[in-house]
């Protein structure tokens, strides 16, 4: 089964993959918003999504480390990795203390910040082009870029909020 969805919040994405698993669909592959599923026992797997430090890095080291812990690396998209563990093997949470969770959210913010800058630059370039030329097509692109920029800004805000919550928890 193939499903199209755009997620920019990995926590919500994890919940959705778990829900699909409960319905008997195991996530298999991701490409540009397209999720491939194959049948499984309802609730067979739990999912987690992780962001690697760098994308050339030691992927096989990471994968074999996880494999030893009963965690399977299903797919990788850029620096993002999709992981699953059999529900029968116990609960599955990649990050279990505030320090490592904060570290992850900081990594996610830095990842999206680069895109935010690129999108914002493109947005203003399109905006000036739209104003100067007054072309309808340019206007649509401007609007689209604006929406994407806001969506990314939203992720950064959400992560910041989560970091704040975790820091308060620690105190």
């Amino acid at each position: 089964m193939l499903k199209f969805k755009l997620y920019y919040d990995k926590d919500a994405e994890e919940v959705w993959l778990r829900e699909m698993s409960l319905k008997g669909w195991a996530f298999k592959k991701f490409f540009l918003g397209f999720y491939t599923f194959e049948p499984c026992e309802p609730g067979e797997y739990n999912y987690q999504i992780d962001l690697l430090d760098n994308w050339s890095g030691n992927k096989s080291d990471y994968a074999s480390f996880m494999e030893d812990l009963g965690v399977e690396v299903i797919d990788q998209w850029w620096r993002w990795v999709y992981l699953r563990k059999k529900a029968a093997d116990g609960p599955f949470e990649m990050y279990t203390d505030a320090e490592s969770k904060i570290y992850l959210y900081k990594k996610i913010i830095n990842f999206f910040k680069i895109f935010l800058v690129i999108e914002a630059i493109c947005f203003f370039m399109e905006l000036t082009a739209t104003i100067r030329i007054g072309n309808f097509i340019f206007g649509i692109f401007t609007l689209l870029l604006g929406v994407i920029s806001l969506a990314i800004l939203n992720v950064v805000w959400k992560c910041k909020w989560k970091i704040e919550q975790l820091s308060n928890e620690k105190k």
């Binding site: 096989s60 074999s64 009963g70 990649m94 990050y95």
Partner: protein, 105 residues
Amino acid sequence: MDNSSPLTEALFYILLAVRTPNHGYGIIQDINEMTGGRVVLGPGTLYGAINSMLTKGWISLFSEDKESRKKKEYLLTKIGREIFEKEVNRLNELVENAKKMDKGR
């Protein structure tokens, strides 16, 4: 994290778990047992902690089983032991001072 700040629970217990050569799964199990199931390290937390401690030289790679599967074992280093002992001294100080609570002044 600089060397003088208190260790996180995860780092403290990982150091303890690699006093003899230990691999990822063994570290999680040992910590689970030592704390009666209170501290169960997630794979991502463990991976990050191990890599940062390898970089800082607190632990070292002990062996790598290349034949069957790549199961790496880690071992406490001299620096790691010093860090651990310093932390234990700090904790002892806390406990010693805590006793004042019941003794009065």
